[in-house]
Amino acid sequence: MSEQPILELKNVHSGYGAIKALKGISLKVMPGEIVAIIGANGAGKSTTLMTICGIVQAEKGEVFYDGQLINKVSPEKLPTMGLCQIPEGRRIFPRLTVEENLILGAFHRNDKEQINRDIQHGYDLFPILGERSKQAGGTLSGGEQQMLAIARALMTKPKLLLLDEPSLGLAPLIIQQIFDIIATINKEDGTTILLVEQNANLALKASKRGYVLETGKVSMEDDAQVLLHNEEIRKAYLGE
């Protein structure tokens, strides 16, 4: 693979005060891929995403996005550059309507007509959101909120989408639906996706490559299919 990775982490350390959550993470995401990061609770999966976005400052190491060092870029500039994160637990704006949530996704954009078209595109992707467009986000069900979070992130026109635990607290049927949509976004818009999941089975099935995190370090990296059939992984994360 000679092309330039869209996202590259080189020996990244970060944490919360005295607690070191990441102890030297290195990973690469190529354009157009779906990459999964799996691992147990507290392995540093979410912190990795938060560090990429600069919500948590990296103490050591470099984060490159599109060949550009983004360690010091403030988080709110990243959506303009095409990097958007859907945080863990969805975090939609509960007292704003579905439509206002979507408009906020396009906060850095000024092209009003295109924004309206994109909102419509979001409703086409998730018809249920169109039905509930005037409803407060907090009154949606968990699955609908996850859809809203994805639609809101798509409003930023991302080149790289960071997804944190999209299956959290959802029914299996809804999870399947969400993962189908993730695959659609990847295929149709060519959006690169970095996925963090507890549900290793689903995540690896949906992705091309995978990383396994263990206590702040990458313990394994390989093609998703290989990881899926790896004995150790099956034991540790798939409960067999």
Binding site: I55, E76, F93, R95, L104, F107, R132
Partner: protein, 408 residues
């Protein structure tokens, strides 16, 4: 009915005894050391009788004995409600505006004075609403900016002889500047910590006003602030303008009305703008807003400065009207009062805040005759209002309903 009564009589009795326990120290202990019981017991018996009647009516209603009265009553209120909602909003605006315009002709000096206070606090409440209601930052030192505005006008007027109209924008500018200076270091904090820090900074500004003798004349305050001056056109020999100082209370009333209207329009426009949406996003979830590309720090600072601008305008007007400023007018109690108005009226809702201000300014005035029970009644009213309308008198119309419910 009997069943219902059996359920409620215990908490009711305990509540009434508790009230007796609270009432006696207020009414029975006198300043000269004597203790009496007579008055306490009479007041308590009146209250007991009153609440008992209320309780019986409530019980009768819940167990369905009062259907013959309640049903028609419910229907007529429903009818009135639907009639009021069908009236177009512009009609409401015109109605309210006419009442506001002719009010000083009908009310006496005292009534106008209270109304000016109401209008002034509407301006303050709307300013604080930007900070608390829209951006969701609990600010306990808001009145400090009101003080900065008032002192800006007083100092500029007394020391440099500048007129009111030049000082009005200058006052709001200085208040805004103070807002930025205070906001810059504090706005990194969130939630409770921010509240404590703003409380601290509010007190710092008051203490500066109290101690900087050379500039603010300390606790003595600044005397002889000129009122608002206006130019009236006179057509006698050609068109000339005559300058005179506003002394009549009515002029102050109309000026305060203008200020309040400007504040209402400005806050309404802000609320539905891009900036307003960014503020609401920050209130809902700061991290998510940041991830969506909202520069949270700048927008929080903007909200803080914007709130301070309104406080500065109100402050300059306050100084011009009182012709005197002293640090005593800008204590923490005032901050708490404005915050109460915003919370009571309904955070983020403009008509709510106007109603909240009216309630909190007018109620103590209405109960002035009750003398020392005034604050007791005031407190009880607030508790009752918060029990029955926990999200404010007129809550902001933001929270939607599920679409299935709407159809049903």
């Amino acid at each position: 009915m009997i069943q219902e009564f059996k359920r409620v009589w215990k908490p009711y009795t305990i509540g009434m005894l508790w009230l007796l326990g609270l009432l006696w120290p207020l009414l029975g202990i006198h300043a000269d050391g004597t203790l009496t019981f007579q008055k306490t017991v009479t007041v308590w018996i009146y209250l007991l009788a009153g609440t008992f009647v209320c309780l019986i009516i409530y019980l009768l209603n819940t167990s369905g004995y009062l259907k013959f009265v309640a049903d028609p009553l419910f229907k007529t209120t429903g009818k009135i409600k639907s009639a009021t909602t069908t009236l177009p909003t512009w009609l409401w605006f015109i109605l309210i505006l006419t009442v506001a315009l002719i009010y000083p002709q009908l009310a006496g000096r005292y009534g106008t004075d209270v109304a000016i206070n109401v209008l002034l606090y509407i301006c303050l409440g709307l300013g604080l609403n930007v900070v608390v209601g829209l951006a969701g930052m609990l600010d306990l030192g808001y009145i400090a900016f009101y003080g900065v505005g008032a002192y800006s006008y007083a100092i500029l007027n007394v020391t440099f002889g500048l007129g009111f109209w030049i000082c009005l924008p200058l006052s709001s500018f200085f208040a805004c500047l103070a807002g930025c200076i205070v906001g810059y270091p504090t706005l990194r904090m969130r939630g409770d910590y921010l509240a404590i820090v703003t409380l601290g900074f509010g007190e710092i500004i008051r203490i500066i006003l109290n101690n900087w003798m050379t500039l603010t004349n300390g606790p003595n305050g600044i005397l002889g602030v000129k009122p608002i001056g206006i130019f009236l056109p006179i057509f006698e020999n050609g068109l000339t303008f005559e300058h005179f100082w506003v002394k009549k209370l009515q002029f102050f009333y109309y000026f305060a009305l203008g200020l309040a209207i400007v504040a209402v329009i400005a806050v309404k426009r802000l609320n539905f703008s891009r900036v307003g949406r960014a503020w609401e996003a920050i209130r809902e979830d700061e991290t998510a807003a940041e991830l969506m590309g909202v520069n949270t720090f700048i927008y929080k600072l903007l909200a803080y400065a914007m709130g301070a601008v309104f406080a500065g305008l109100a402050g300059a007007f306050f100084a011009a009207r009182m012709k005197f400023v002293s640090p005593e007018s800008f204590t923490f109690l005032e901050s708490a009062m404005v915050l109460c108005m915003v919370v009571l009226g309904g955070m983020g809702s403009i008509p709510g805040i106007i109603l909240g201000v009216m309630a909190l300014i007018a109620l103590p005035e209405v109960f002035r005759e009750f003398d020392s029970y005034r604050m007791l009644i005031f407190g009880a009213t607030m508790i009752i209002m918060m029990l029955f309308r926990p999200s404010g008198l007129i809550p902001a119309k933001r929270v939607g309903t599920r679409s299935e419910e709407k159809e049903g």
